[in-house]
Structures are given as structure tokens and as C-alpha cells.
């Protein structure tokens, strides 16, 4: 192959890395082998050869196209797709992070281990509304939140493992043991289905009215995502954002920061119906919700047509194993689910829970661990 082509492709690999694609030397080598196999005269073939060897995700195709056009066709480079968070949102994030940083630095030692708090202090904290917590209190409940999120609903797997109380014979073992007895299966080893975590999908409302609770719930989400595979997290306000990757980072605070970056409409109005529709259309179709326990965290204030909420909830409920709605307002004994969106959603909800304080999150965790299909709310 001509040196010029090799140089061109290697440099193009670097261009792709600069725009954020993961293009290692192995991929570049594949690209060169591919170009060796096709006709370089045909631009279409060159394009696909490079794309198929250098890109491995559908959502990176657009970036690749821009880079390809810019590099090979000398088209002007377009601005990146992702919209930056609004200045207001940035400022809010900045302020709240600054608050936390100040607080963390100054008084961390005095507070001690949150898990070793005195019983009464602990009890008070469990009952306190997230919206009324001081930053210090909030930080104390952080670890408690993480601990309770690790309860996951279970389901039977198709895979079996050795278990004396199992329901199927362990044939491989039985045959080996039968050798000693001339083919008589005297000993009967069993296998049982393993219990594995059920898929868990959490959709968290981060609109203005939910701000105080969203922070606590994002911590809950973070711990849930960290509890093992099969957890997906989304945030919504006026639109839906997938947060699974952001929450995959280890530190919940930086995860929270990334969430605020990803959800550019943090703190703005709510479009529950439209967000649910987007979830059903994009992710439900990909069977993300099938057989899953879906938890929706929202106060149910819909700015738009409540009928859409009902329709999309019906679709969601059909695909999901169970739907849980967590509404912080329900913590108030006088609360009535009269808001249009909430009322439209309730017929399709298996469990309707508060979520305004630590105790209610514990309740949520307990419900998730033992949930059965179609509970009475």
C-alpha cells in the first residue's frame, strides 16, 4: 500500500480520537487491511471500509461522518452536536457544588460515621424531608441511601447451579458417580435455577419542582447502578436523558455533576408524557423495559396533556414486570393525587410510594426486593 494512504489513515485515526472516538492502533490496522482489499477509486467503498473498521457504535456515526467529510472531502467542520448547558443551569450547578465542597472540607470529622449515629439522631434523620435537610445532614444520609439501594428484585435465571434442594438432576455429576455403582444412580445430585437480579429501570424527574428530591434520588440511582448489571437510569424534565453511563462513575458527587451536565434542562418544566413516550419509543422498543421493574420518580406535575401520560403509562405497564411510582409529595398525609399527570398514571402503577425521606427510600428498597407483579397500590 502506498505510504501516502497509510499516512492519511493514521492521521485520520488521530482526527477521530480528537473528536472523541476510541480509535486504537488495532482499529487503524484493520482500516488499512480493509482499504487494501477494496477499490480505492470508489469513494463509497473507502468511506464504508473506514467506517466499518473505525466505528463500533451507531451514535458515533454522525461524528464519524463529520470527520470524514472534513478530512477527505475538505468540507468545513461543523460545530459539535451536543448542546452546552445553559448559563443558568451551569451557575446553579456551580453554586451547589461549591456549597458541598465548603461543607465537606470544614466539618467532616465532627460528624463521624453516619452508620454509627446514635439511635435517636438516626431516627430523626430517617424521618426528615430531603427538602429540609442541611447540607451536613444530607451528607450523612448519603451512605445510608447507598446501602439500601443495593436490594435488587430477583428473578429465576435459566442457568442452574449445584444445589441439594434443586429440582433438576445434575446429570454430569450423576453419570460420574454412577460409574462406581455399575450404572445405578445411587446418589442423586441436584441443580437449581439461580436467582439473579431482575432488570431495574429508574426514570427520575429532575424538573424544578423535584429539585430537592432529585439530588437524594440521584444518589439512590448511583448506588443502584453500582449494584450490578441490569440497572438503567434516566433523568427527565422537558426531555429524556440516559444516565447509565454517567452514573457508572464511582463517586456519586461527580456522577451527580455529570447528570446535571447531561440533563441540560435541569430545573426546568416537566413533560412527563413526552418523556415517557420517548422512553417507550427509543428504549422500550429495544426491550429495555421488558420484564423489568420500572421505577418512576416524579411529583406528577405535567405541564402538558395528561392523556398522553395515561397512554404512555399503559404501554410501559404492558412491557414492564412491575411499575413503581415514587412521589415525594405523598409524604404529606394530606396529599391527594389530583394533579392531572399523576391521576392519569395511577391506574397503571403497581405500587405508589412516597420518597421524601430516608425511611421512604428504605420502604422503596424493601418493595423492590420483594416485588410481585400487579400489586394493589
Amino acid at each position: 500500500m502506498a505510504d501516502a494512504v497509510v499516512r492519511h489513515v493514521v492521521t485520520f485515526g488521530r482526527v477521530l480520537r480528537e473528536v472523541g472516538l476510541e480509535v486504537g492502533p488495532g482499529r487503524v490496522a484493520d482500516a488499512l487491511r480493509a482499504l487494501d482489499a477494496v477499490d480505492l477509486e470508489r469513494q463509497e467503498d473507502v468511506y464504508f471500509s473506514l467506517r466499518q473498521t473505525l466505528v463500533c457504535r451507531q451514535d458515533e456515526l454522525d461524528l464519524f461522518d463529520r470527520a470524514f467529510n472534513a478530512w477527505f472531502l475538505r468540507a468545513p467542520v461543523l460545530p459539535p452536536l451536543r448542546t452546552a448547558p445553559s448559563p443558568v443551569a451551569q451557575q446553579r450547578v456551580g453554586e451547589s457544588l461549591a456549597d458541598r465542597a465548603r461543607d465537606d472540607g470544614e466539618r467532616d470529622d465532627e460528624l463521624g460515621d453516619p452508620l454509627e449515629l446514635g439511635a435517636s439522631g438516626h431516627e430523626l434523620l430517617r424521618e426528615k424531608d430531603f427538602a429540609e435537610m442541611t447540607p451536613a445532614e444530607y451528607r450523612r444520609v448519603k451512605r445510608l441511601i447507598a446501602a439500601i439501594a443495593e436490594n435488587r428484585p430477583l428473578r429465576s435465571s435459566r442457568r442452574r447451579s449445584s444445589d441439594p434442594r434443586g429440582d433438576r438432576l445434575d446429570m454430569r455429576r450423576l453419570i460420574r458417580r454412577s460409574l462406581r455403582t455399575g450404572g445405578d444412580p445411587v446418589e442423586r445430585p441436584f441443580r437449581a435455577r439461580k436467582r439473579v437480579a431482575r432488570k431495574l429501570v429508574v426514570l427520575c424527574d429532575v424538573s424544578g419542582s423535584m429539585d430537592a428530591y432529585a439530588r437524594a434520588l440521584v444518589l439512590f440511582l448511583h448506588a443502584a447502578v453500582g449494584s450490578g448489571p441490569g440497572v438503567e437510569a434516566f433523568a427527565f424534565g422537558t426531555r429524556l436523558s440516559r444516565l447509565t453511563a454517567e452514573l457508572g462513575t464511582r463517586d456519586p458527587e461527580s456522577a451527580l455533576e455529570k447528570c446535571t451536565e447531561a440533563v441540560t434542562d435541569w430545573g426546568s418544566g416537566t413533560r412527563i408524557g413526552a418523556s415517557l413516550k420517548e422512553f417507550n419509543d427509543v428504549y422500550g422498543k429495544r426491550a429495555l423495559s421488558r420484564g423489568a421493574v420500572v421505577v418512576i420518580v416524579s411529583d406528577g406535575w405535567e405541564r402538558q396533556d395528561p392523556a398522553l401520560v395515561g397512554r404512555e403509562m399503559a404501554r410501559l405497564a404492558r412491557a414492564a414486570y412491575a411499575v413503581v411510582w415514587v412521589n415525594p409529595l405523598k409524604g404529606n398525609p394530606e396529599y391527594q393525587p389530583l394533579a392531572g399527570g399523576m391521576r392519569a398514571a395511577l391506574p397503571f402503577v403497581d405500587r405508589f410510594l412516597p420518597g421524601h425521606n430516608l425511611r421512604s427510600l428504605e420502604e422503596l428498597a424493601a418493595v423492590l426486593a420483594g416485588i410481585e407483579r400487579r400489586h394493589a397500590a
Binding site: 487491511r33 482489499a37 477499490d39 467503498d45 466499518q52 473498521t53 442457568r159 453419570i175 454412577s178 448489571p229
Partner: protein, 296 residues
Amino acid sequence: MTVSGFRTIDELEDALRGADYLPDRGLSTALFLALALEKPLLLEGEAGVGKTEAAKSLAQATGSRLIRLQCYEGLDVAHAVYEWNYPRQLLHIRAAQEGTVSEDELFGPEFLIRRPLLEAIDGDEPVVLLIDEIDRADEEFEAFLLEVLSDFQITIPELGTIRARRRPAVILTSNRTRELHDALKRRALFHWIGHPSIEREIEIVKIRIPGVSERLAAQAAAFVRELRGLDLAKPPGVAETIDWAMALNALGRQEIDAEVVEQTLGSVLKYREDIEAVRDETLARLVDSARTTAGA
């Protein structure tokens, strides 16, 4: 060593046409490179765009045997790779004189049941291995598969390691119900299949339904294209276009009108909400628009 001896993409494209499959240039490039580079090819795209078909047609075009592994949650080695034939083993022990059967004998090749993956790497004939809907298998299995696809070898504890004498062409499909592991993606070529252009879709309908009229094929393709432009829960794929055109053809239709569309909507749309949405408002308009596009 390759499954086939195609020297150019055009040659492969011709062979695929011979197998009644009309890939666009992107897909034929992907299939060509999978053969030329001997790398697995990961195909993604909306349901019904022909991912599984691509593998079947590649097998036909290359004169290979198609071995299909359909993935599902809980798929394990016993279903994907091999299993021992326990009843035969027990009979064998019984039939033998006491003490004469050794474990080695019992776990020998004659008691082995070969499942798709073992079948695909342990043979002399050319093979296209289709690993369908890999996203449905769990991550444990994906990790196992990664090993097999890296080395093209399988280890059976009782028998030792079996190496492929001839590498199968491997096509993986995914509906993206979850993101696949990077390591697996790194080992594979990647191609995203979009919906075909209208011209190609008309060609596909004609090639799949012998005797269908040009006009009906064009109108069906144009109508489905209109449907894809709507906000539907499940936009129809090529498979649905074919089903639908087949139904219309079976009804003896030469073209579409609102009435026949209404009657047959169920073969093109698979969700009640979608059918209702289309019926309610837009049916007549879509039919008009499709007929205009198709030049009725």
C-alpha cells in the same frame, strides 16, 4: 482460508443478488470485509431491516452451511457449545461389565452432543455462523463468546481444546436492547443498517414476490415509507413491506386504495396504537401521497 474467493465487492454483490438479496453498497462492503479480513461482523439496525437475512444470504452466496445460534437470556454453554448425551452414557455403563468403563471412555467424542458453536468451528465445510440477537444473551455468555471469537477454539475439560481448522464467517446481530461489551465490539467490524432507499425497497419487493406488478411494488414501498415518517411505536421494516405486498398481491390488487389499506394494515403495523393512529387521521392522505410518489 477464506470462506469464498470473491476478489471485489462487486463480485460478492452479484452472488448475493443471485441469492435474491439486494444489499446496499455499505452492507456488501461490510460482508466483503468480514470475509477478506476474517473478522466477525456486528450488524445493528432497527427490527426488520434484514440483519438476519444478510447472514442467510451470505451463506447461500458463498455456498456455505448456515449455522445459527439464537441468543436468549440464560443461554449457556450446554445450549450453545456442547452437552453430554447422558442417557447414552448411562446405557453404556449398564451394558458394560462392571468396572470396565472408564471416565475417559464415557466422556469421549461419541457421547458428545455438538451445539451450534462447536459445530461451527469443528468442521471441514465452509460455514457462516449467525449469532442472532447477541444483546439478548447475558454478559457472562458474551464474555465466553469473546474468547471463542478471538481464538476460534473451544476447550472441553474432558476432551481438550478443539481448534478451528477453517474459520467460519461470523455475523452477529443486535437490536441494542443493551450496549455490548467494548471488547467484543473491538474484535468485530461494525455496520449499521438503515432503512433502504425507496428504489431498493421496490427492487426487494419485486425480487421476493414473483409476479408482483411494478405499480403495486412501488406503491407499497412508497406507502411504507410514508408510515416510517410518522411517529409510530414500531415503524415497519422491509420484512413488513414484503409481507404486506404479498398480502395485497394475494388479494389480486394491482394498486392500493384507502379501502384495501384499511383491510390489510395489520400485516404492516404490529401495534394496535399504531394501527389506530394511522386509521384515525392520516390513512387517506398517506394513500394519496404514496400513489403520487409511486407515480400512479
